[in-house]
């Protein structure tokens, strides 16, 4: 389990664009929750 978490934490092998997409999705998810909560 710890080994699995250890490998999950590292995404160096991912292409940089994929890492960027992941971060953008994270930011949009936060914005979406705030937007839905505000409605």
């Amino acid at each position: 389990m710890i080994a699995a978490m250890n490998s999950w934490t590292c995404i160096e092998s991912w292409p940089s664009k994929l890492r960027l997409v992941e971060s953008i999705m994270f930011a949009f998810a936060v914005m979406a929750i705030v937007y839905v909560g505000a409605q």
Partner: protein, 409 residues
């Protein structure tokens, strides 16, 4: 600065201030103290003259033009001193601009440090916005030759304008947290490590969600789920302070065991300490827990007078200003220990072969900080120059908490 210097923490290098007047000065603390003293005195003198002028004008029926021109002149002075002399002020504005433009600029340690300070200044930024509004209205009133108009209009705008309550205050409250979130995401992309950056981003995301719900949907404030989320987000921030920002508590795994599970993980107190004995650290941990919850209260929107006498209104209206001041003190103490841990990590990175024998920075001055925080504020008591070398050969299982834990596993 005095605390950092006495503890042997090279804050000029860690915060990359070498090219600033503070970094080039032999006594950088003197610059900061002189500047703070001068500005505080000017503010207090103007404040007293303003009050006396108002009373005098009201009692004798004179015009209040002079009194109302004082806050405007004071604001103009502070703005002028913030930009003049431009040669030395420019570097500080550039530092702030780097933070505000997140995630456009590469994130260094200083950017995160400034971003965290900004999150503590929410209750300062809101009155600051009011000051700027007051200045603009006063200038307009000056043009139309009716300075009394400034008072009535600024008050009215401040209490009733929907743009203020649904745009400006939420923006000032959430934007510092949003900056830190974006900085963490950028570091995750650049470093290729989810840990600790995505977890740190989650910390700011949880704060943003909880605060924005309270801002846009005030009826949620009484909901137990929202209260639970508020407590959870605050505890998340607190645990992050202890394990990551300060590194006071370390998660350790046995070095000899190959297939270790979560049951083998133990929590230990960091052995290498620059800022005094262990009781100082324990007292700071306890105080930080109380003030962390206080900080969350300062982020909540101002009370709505129409709701009448509620607990929420009482707390935010009367205790709020004190909590805002306490948050500034908390952030100051947070800064002591944040840079201490960064210094220890820096030395560890510079010389990984050794297990961070802090005697390399010989005769570290031990600074005892006793923090007594109460409703009226806090003070920091410094004891020096008690030159006490740290114990040699103490073995530390982990240095960076979870990060090291994962790599070792």
């Amino acid at each position: 600065m005095v605390v950092w210097r006495r503890a042997g923490i090279d804050f000029v290098h860690l915060l990359q201030l070498q090219h600033t007047s503070v970094g080039q000065s032999k006594s950088p603390a003197t610059i900061a103290i002189q500047s703070a003293t001068r500005n505080s005195l000017i503010f207090l003198v103007v404040f007293i003259i303003f009050n006396k002028s108002i009373h005098f004008a009201l009692r004798h029926g004179y015009s209040m033009t002079f009194a109302h021109s004082l806050p405007v002149l004071l604001t103009i002075y502070f703005l002028w001193s913030a930009f003049h002399p431009w040669k030395s002020r420019k570097v500080w504005w550039e530092m702030l601009a780097r933070v505000l433009m997140a995630p456009a600029c590469p994130v260094i340690f200083r950017d995160g440090f400034i971003g965290d300070i900004l999150t503590s200044l929410v209750r300062v930024l809101i009155p600051f916005a009011f000051s700027l509004l007051y200045l603009l209205l006063s200038v307009y009133a000056w043009v139309v030759n009716d300075l009394s108009w400034t008072v009535s209009m600024s008050d009215k705008w401040w209490t009733t304008n929907p743009i203020l309550h649904f745009v400006l205050i939420p923006f000032l409250t959430i934007y510092p947290l949003w900056i830190r979130l974006l900085q963490c995401l950028r570091r995750s992309v650049e470093s290729g490590h989810r840990w600790p950056h995505l977890a740190n981003a989650s910390k700011y995301a949880s704060a943003i969600i909880v605060i924005s719900l309270a801002t846009f949907r005030p009826e949620y404030r009484g909901n137990w789920l929202w209260v639970l989320a508020l407590v959870g987000a605050t505890l998340f921030q607190y645990s992050w302070d202890l394990t990551q920002d300060w590194g006071m508590l370390c998660f350790s795994v046995p070095e000899t065991k190959e297939n270790c599970s979560f049951a083998d993980v133990s929590l230990s107190f960091r052995a290498k300490r620059l800022l005094g004995p262990s009781w100082v650290y324990v007292s700071v941990m306890i105080t930080n827990l109380a003030l962390r919850f206080a900080w969350t209260l300062t982020l909540l929107p101002p009370p709505n007078e129409e709701d009448g006498l509620t607990v929420y209104n009482l707390v935010t209206k009367h205790v709020g200003p004190i909590l805002a001041a306490a948050e500034i003190v908390r952030r100051m103490v947070w800064g002591f220990f944040r840079l201490e841990f960064e210094q220890i990590e820096f030395l560890q990175r510079a010389n990984p072969a050794k297990d961070m024998d802090l005697l390399d920075i010989e005769m570290v001055s031990t600074v005892s900080i006793s923090l007594v925080a109460g409703l009226t504020g806090a003070f920091v008591r410094l004891q020096w120059p008690s030159i006490v070398p740290l114990p040699r050969g103490e073995q530390q299982t982990t240095w960076t908490g979870w990060a090291c834990f994962f790599h070792r596993a």
